[in-house]
C-alpha cells in the first residue's frame, strides 16, 4: 500500500512531471530512508533562523518546478558557513525562474554513491547502484538489477562495482556502513515496486555514505507521463 501522504505528493507533482526535492525527501523519509536534516526558506526572514536551526556549514539548493537539473543551473551552493553568505545565496536564487524556496540542509561529507530506479518496458522496475556525484556518467561504475532486491542481489550489486574497495576502507579511510547501504537498497527497491505505476525514474544522487549513515543528499523523481 502506498501511504496517503505519498499519493498526495505524487498527485500535486503531476503537473510538473517530477517531484520537487523537498517533497521527494519527504517521501523517502516516510518510508524510513535516511535524509539530511532540512528546511525550506521561502522569504528572506526565514533564512538565518533556518541556517542556525540546521547548523552551519549547510548546503543550499533552489526549489523550483522550472529547475530539474539544479547543478547545471547553478542552483546549488555547498559549504555555506554563515547567515551573511546564506542570505546572499537566497537573493541569487530568488531571481531564478519559478523560485518556490531555498532548501537548506545539513552537510554530510562521505563517499558519494548513486542509487537509482528506472521503469523498463520489458523488465519493469530496475534498480541501479554505482559511484555517484556529477561524474557518474563518466565512470559508469554501476550495477543493475531487477526489483525487488533481496539480500543476495544487494551483495552481488556491491561486489559488482569496480571501485568497491573504496567502500571497504582504502588506504586509511574507514569503511562505510555496509549494513545501512544494504538496508537502504532493499527499502528503496520495495518503495520502487509500490510506486511502479507512477514513477518513470529516480536518481538518488549523491547518497552520502559514511561509517555511520547512508543519507540521501539529493533526490529526483521523474513521473510517468501516462500510466
Amino acid at each position: 500500500m502506498v501511504k496517503k501522504e505519498i499519493l498526495t505528493i505524487l498527485k500535486t507533482s503531476e503537473k510538473w512531471g517530477w517531484v520537487l526535492e523537498p517533497d521527494a525527501k519527504r517521501i523517502f523519509s516516510l518510508e524510513g530512508l535516511d535524509v539530511p536534516k532540512f528546511s525550506v526558506a521561502k522569504v528572506p526572514g526565514d533564512v538565518s533562523r533556518i541556517g542556525n536551526e540546521i547548523g552551519y556549514p549547510v548546503v543550499a539548493k533552489i526549489v523550483s518546478p522550472e529547475v530539474l537539473h539544479k547543478s547545471d543551473s547553478h542552483g546549488v551552493e555547498v559549504g555555506v558557513t554563515g547567515d551573511k553568505d546564506l542570505k546572499k545565496v537566497f537573493d541569487r536564487f530568488r531571481k531564478m525562474e519559478g523560485f518556490a524556496g531555498m532548501l537548506v540542509e545539513e552537510m554530510i561529507p562521505g563517499t558519494e554513491l548513486i542509487i537509482g530506479a528506472k521503469h523498463d518496458y520489458q523488465f519493469g522496475p530496475m534498480i541501479l547502484l554505482g559511484f555517484g556525484g556529477t561524474g557518474v556518467e563518466i565512470y559508469k561504475d554501476v550495477s543493475l538489477r531487477m526489483a525487488p532486491l533481496d539480500e543476495n542481489d544487494v551483495n552481488s550489486m556491491i561486489q559488482g562495482l569496480k571501485a568497491k574497495k573504496l567502500l571497504e576502507g582504502y588506504r586509511g579511510t574507514k569503511p562505510i556502513n555496509m549494513k545501512a547501504l544494504k538496508e537502504s537498497l532493499i527499502t528503496f527497491s520495495g518503495l520502487v515496486m509500490k510506486l511502479k505505476d507512477y514513477v518513470e525514474s529516480i536518481d538518488l544522487n549523491p547518497v552520502m555514505c559514511t561509517p555511520e549513515r547512508c543519507v540521501i543528499a539529493d533526490a529526483r523523481i521523474i513521473l510517468k507521463t501516462e500510466k
Binding site: 528506472k118 518496458y121 520489458q122 523488465f123 530496475m126 554505482g130 550495477s143 525514474s201 521523474i222
Partner: protein, 456 residues
C-alpha cells in the same frame, strides 16, 4: 492452452496451396510433409482441384479426417476468417506463415486473430514466421527440402524471433553436431510467445536445453520470462540482438541513461540463475553443445592437456578471460603422469597445467594424462586440445578419450580443427556425447557454460 499439437500432429492441413505456382510457400510445405514426414498432410484452397493427383480440399471442413494442425500461407486479409474456420472445425493449433500484419501496420487483422485465439484457447504461432521443425515429425518451413541443412535429432530446442537466424543456427548446429529437439520461428509472436514455449519446453521430455534468439520482449514480458526461466529445470540460453539501439532517446535521469534497454536486459538475465546470456553466435553454439552433453555445474577449475605449447597458452588466456582457473598440479600427480608417458615424450613434455605433451605424443600419452586429470578432485573439467596432424595421433583417440571421461564421470571437452579429413576423430567424440569445438576459444566457452549453469 495445449501446444502439443503444434509439434506432434497426426494430421495437418496446408491452407493456400496453389495449382499454378509450384514454388508457392504452401506448396513447398505441403509437398515436403506429404512425402517425407509421418504427419498425414492435406492441401486446402477454396478453388479446390488437384495437386499431382492428390485432392485439394476447398475447406478444412471438407477433409475426411479431423485436422490437428493447420499451416496457413494465404493472403493476410483472408487469414482471420481462415483461423475462425479452423477453430470451428475443431483444429487444435495453427501456424500462420503469411506476412502482412502488424509489420505493415495491419494491427486490425492481428487483433481479430488474437481475440479469437484467446477466447478459444487456440494456440497459433506467427504470423510472419517459418513455423516449426521437429526432426522426423513435421516441418512447416517453406524452404525446399534440398536447400535445408538439418541437424540430427537431439535435445536442444531453439526458439527464434527471426526465421533467417533460426535456419542459420540449424546449419551451425548440424556442423557442430548439436542435436535439435524442436525449432520454432515465432515471427511477430502475436499470440504464442517466448514464455508459452518456455513453459511447454520445460516439461518436454525430448528437450534438455532451451535456447532463444530474442530481438525484444513485449511490455513486462521480459520480467515474466526471466522469472519463469529461473524456475525452469533446464538451462535457458538467450542471444539478444539490438544491443546498441535505444541510446538515442533523450533521458532526464542518470539512471535512465545508464540503465538502457540492453543493459537492463543483460542485468535481468544475469540476476537469475539458470538463464545464460550468449553474447554472440559462437557463445550460443558452444553453450548449447556443452549443455546438451552435460547437465552439470562446476566452480570453474579446468585441467588442460595439449599437443602444443601455443594451444595451451591460448587456452589459459581464454580461461582467465572467462573467469575460469587452471590450477597447478600437485607434485605427486605430476610424477605419476610422467612415469607413464612414452619414453620419447617423457624427456621433453612439460607436465603442469596445461600439460604439454608435445608434437611427439602418441594416443597413449593423451589417454594416460586425461585419465590422471580426471581422477584429480581439484580438476572439475578437462579440455583436450588435439592436433590430428601430429604423426603419433590416430583417429581412434576420440572414442578412447570419451571412454576415459565417461568412466571417471568428469566432463571432457575437445578441440579439433573441423575439416573433413579429421571427421572420424571428431565423431569418435561426438557419437559418445563428448562436445568438440573447432576453436580453442569455443572449447573454453563450453567449459564456461558449465560454470554458468546452476546445479540441475
Amino acid at each position: 492452452m495445449n501446444l502439443q499439437p503444434l509439434f506432434k500432429p497426426k494430421t495437418m492441413a496446408v491452407i493456400g496451396v496453389s495449382t499454378t505456382n509450384e514454388r508457392h510457400p504452401a506448396n513447398v510445405i505441403y509437398s515436403k510433409n506429404h512425402h517425407r514426414y509421418p504427419v498425414e498432410t492435406f492441401a486446402v484452397n477454396p478453388r479446390g482441384g488437384a495437386l499431382k493427383g492428390d485432392p485439394i480440399f476447398p475447406a478444412i471442413s471438407d477433409i475426411p479426417e479431423q485436422i490437428e494442425l493447420a499451416v496457413i500461407a494465404a493472403r493476410a486479409d483472408y487469414v482471420p476468417d481462415i483461423l475462425k474456420n479452423c477453430i470451428e472445425s475443431g483444429v487444435k493449433a495453427a501456424i500462420v506463415v503469411s506476412g502482412g500484419f502488424s509489420e505493415v501496420g495491419r494491427w486490425d487483422l492481428r487483433d481479430r486473430m488474437v481475440a479469437m485465439a484467446r477466447e478459444a484457447a487456440f494456440p497459433f504461432v506467427g504470423p510472419n514466421c517459418l513455423g516449426i521443425y521437429v526432426p522426423g515429425y513435421v516441418d512447416s518451413f517453406f524452404l525446399p527440402a534440398e536447400r535445408m541443412v538439418k541437424p540430427d535429432e537431439g535435445n536442444v530446442a531453439f526458439i527464434s524471433q527471426s526465421g533467417g537466424i533460426l535456419v542459420d543456427q540449424m546449419i551451425k548446429f548440424a556442423d557442430e553436431g548439436v542435436g535439435l529437439s524442436k525449432a520454432v520461428s515465432i515471427g511477430n509472436k502475436a499470440f504464442v510467445k517466448e514464455l508459452d514455449l518456455l513453459n511447454f519446453l520445460a516439461r518436454d521430455r525430448e528437450t534438455k536445453v532451451i535456447a532463444f534468439y530474442v530481438e525484444g520482449f513485449g511490455k513486462d514480458e521480459g520480467r515474466e520470462f526471466v522469472l519463469a526461466a529461473e524456475k525452469c529445470p533446464k538451462p535457458v540460453i538467450v542471444l539478444k540482438s539490438g544491443k546498441s539501439s535505444g541510446g538515442q532517446r533523450a533521458v532526464s535521469s542518470h539512471t535512465a541513461s545508464m540503465a538502457g534497454d540492453y543493459q537492463s536486459f543483460s542485468a535481468a538475465l544475469a540476476q537469475h540463475d539458470g538463464v545464460i546470456e550468449a553474447l554472440n553466435e559462437l557463445e550460443l553454439v558452444s553453450f548449447c553443445e556443452s549443455m546438451s552433453s552435460y547437465q552439470t555445474s562446476i566452480n570453474g577449475n579446468i585441467g588442460i592437456v595439449t599437443g602444443s605449447g601455443g594451444h595451451g597458452a591460448l587456452a589459459v588466456d581464454a580461461c582467465s578471460a572467462q573467469g575460469l582457473s587452471v590450477p597447478e598440479l600437485g607434485e605427486v600427480t605430476k610424477k605419476e603422469i610422467e612415469a607413464h608417458l612414452s619414453a620419447s615424450v617423457k624427456a621433453i613434455a612439460s607436465i603442469r597445467n596445461p600439460a604439454d605433451l608435445t608434437g611427439s605424443a602418441i594416443d597413449d600419452d593423451f589417454v594416460w594424462t586425461v585419465r590422471a586429470l580426471c581422477t584429480m578432485p581439484e580438476i572439475e573439467c578437462v579440455i583436450a586440445l588435439l592436433l590430428p596432424y601430429l604423426p603419433g595421433i590416430t583417429m581412434d583417440l576420440g572414442s578412447r578419450l570419451s571412454n576415459v571421461s565417461r568412466q571417471a564421470g568428469k566432463p571432457l571437452i575437445a578441440y579439433v580443427p573441423h575439416v573433413d579429413k579429421y571427421r572420424m576423430l571428431i565423431e569418435g567424440f561426438e557419437l559418445n556425447g563428448i562436445p568438440v569445438s573447432p576453436s580453442i576459444e569455443g572449447a573454453v566457452l563450453m567449459a564456461t557454460a558449465l560454470r554458468r549453469s546452476k546445479p540441475w
